[in-house]
């Protein structure tokens, strides 16, 4: 698949300022975004289960430039959503879409290994498993055991609205995410207690915000402004949770569940628990999944006197 992608990129690179893909990162278990500016950069391009980043995150910051981006199915939804909201110009973007077999959760991988990820000495990927040497121990881990939750529930493994689609199309086989069901089943008081405890760990580094492709206010975010003053700078569970709730609600009808917020959290806060709950509500109320249909207006950017699924005056 990677060779076909390289060929496709090479064909179009002359018309583009850059193409964003992935290369291997600081060790054998981490890939990192790659900005391909000339053909000489292409040999570094890599694909596979370590290509976890949603590269659409970079697009609003490159507005006005002709840019190519390599996207998985989930990431392609961010491109569509950004274009639907006018945050990028779709015609400026060349979408190199992948038919994706899923990416890993580094958190799950860490739990599957005998020592922390940083002790990796070697790693080799086979189609369905990883063989690695970690802290002197040879280990083998099945990909299905360390797949990111979003890949388990994935409805769109093949990139949508791609200009170039690479790989063999996959048939989606979404499964429920076990942790979400367990969490949703908790009584409200326990949910609150969980967040109070968990938000004490949040350090308000805003990795979740800046990794989010739809969180475009960044430099002017109410999390740090004094005018308006919505949040204090004290690090406390209440302020931290308030920030996270604002983050979630600003994504209502916009979140594509790419999972970048949760993946980016340096202290492993399961932020997707909030996103999935909210997305369930927007799907129920508006029959809407963000970033699945080019040209569609997001429900909270429009208005209908009678919303079909909201019973406002049903007495």
């Amino acid at each position: 698949m990677v060779e076909a992608l390289k060929t496709a990129i090479a064909e179009r690179l002359a018309d583009l300022e850059m193409v964003i893909g992935w290369e291997m990162g600081f060790d054998a278990l981490h890939a990192t975004p790659l900005f391909i500016r000339e053909e000489g950069d292409l040999h570094r391009l890599t694909l596979g289960p370590l290509a976890v980043h949603n590269l659409a995150t970079y697009l609003p910051g490159l507005k006005g430039k002709k840019v190519g981006v390599v996207v998985k199915g989930c990431d392609s939804r961010s491109v569509i959503q950004l274009a639907n909201e006018g945050l990028i110009k779709r015609e400026d973007i060349t979408v190199f879409g992948l038919c994706c077999d899923g990416v890993i959760s580094h958190r799950k991988l860490r739990e599957a290994l005998p020592a922390d990820l940083g002790f990796v000495e070697q790693a080799t990927w086979h189609s369905d498993r990883l063989q690695a040497v970690v802290a002197g121990h040879a280990v083998e881990v099945r990909l299905q055991d360390i797949l990111a939750d979003k890949c388990i529930s994935c409805r769109y493994p093949n990139a949508l609205a791609a200009d170039v689609l690479v790989g063999a199309a996959r048939t989606p086989a979404p499964q429920p995410v076990p942790c979400q069901d367990a969490f949703d089943a908790l009584p409200q008081a326990e949910k609150l207690a969980f967040w109070e405890a968990t938000m004490a760990r949040c350090i308000r580094c805003y990795a979740c915000r800046n990794a989010c492709p739809l969180c475009v206010c960044r430099d002017h975010c109410i999390a740090t402004t004094r005018d308006p003053l919505w949040l204090g700078q004290e690090n406390s569970p209440a302020e931290n949770f308030m920030f996270q709730m604002i983050h979630v609600l600003h994504l209502a009808g916009r979140c594509t569940e790419c999972g970048e917020c949760e993946r980016s959290c340096p202290v492993d806060i399961p932020l997707l628990l909030l996103r999935r709950s909210m997305n369930r509500v927007t799907e129920e109320l508006f029959d809407y999944q963000a970033g699945t249909t080019p040209g569609q207006t997001p429900p909270l950017l429009t208005f209908q006197v009678e919303e079909a699924r909201i019973n406002e005056r049903g007495w």
Partner: protein, 341 residues
Amino acid sequence: MDRFLAASQLTALADDLAQTGPVLAPIAEGGSVVFRWYRPGMRIELSRMASTSPKAATFPQTEPLLAVRREGEAKTPTVEATLPPRSRTVVLGCRPCGARGKEIFGPVFLGGVHDPYFARRREDALFMAVVCTRPETTCFCTSVGGGPADTVGVDVLLIPVEGGFVARSVTAAGEKVLAHALFAEAGARSAEADAVIAKANAAMPPQDDFRTAPEKLLARFDDKDFWERQSAKCISCGACTYMCPTCYCFNITDDDLGLESRRIRTWDNCMSYLFTLEGSGHNPRPTKAHRLKNRVSHKFSYYPTIHSGTIACCGCGRCIKHCPVGVDIRAIVRAAQEYGG
């Protein structure tokens, strides 16, 4: 002085120390390991380097600076400095890099200006650091003057040996702690500890030589293209600065609580647009390229230039490991050093 602490006694030691003062320890929590103020029942986790640094012991994320009170309609408020209470604070189970990190604060916070908040916390803190027996892919402490058994900023070194730790005092305050009844004779384990340290040092990867970094980074200052390429993948969040044991930049804000208000100091992040935004609307560091340049140059050029060559980095690698997009500060410094051949 060497003593021995059985692994099974670590919790008992934390419980005991926590009775006479705060204990900051790496705690396993929700799949993460983070430094927490220890309470009995928490699980201390030493097998993984904590995601957060032990910086909070000497530089908490939120430090109340002033309390302001107004009585009724009176126009004159009372303004009081809210210095932290005096009490011995033990950091139990950080790594040597974490203990070294706070030493970067010294020349700044206790140099020309005396910061009484940091000074008090620094004086009262005692660091018991665990020797690292094996480097991670992101570790580079030996390239910035540290090491897996470095004793800079450490009071007691905990050296993993069979069945527990040899606790080796580095300072007089550290030696006092070792008088605790939970510590036993070290005996022959001292030699085992020496061997562990020798092996740990030998296991470190080859060092980077960052000595030319100050001038080489400065030489790239006006090279917009260089910094745009280096920062292309950066998403301008604060994971690197907030995980960093040596980052000391802070914000000061007021919280209005009606008749009372307080002024707090909180960690701030040089990667944020607002960090340098001026009242006029002008921003000297408007893009992430400007900001990453300042972050890297502060650590590897400006600080060492001001403070006799010391690099403002302890090589813990947290900024690399926890960066959502894998920005590698080592690679940026190397690229500046190697620029143009």
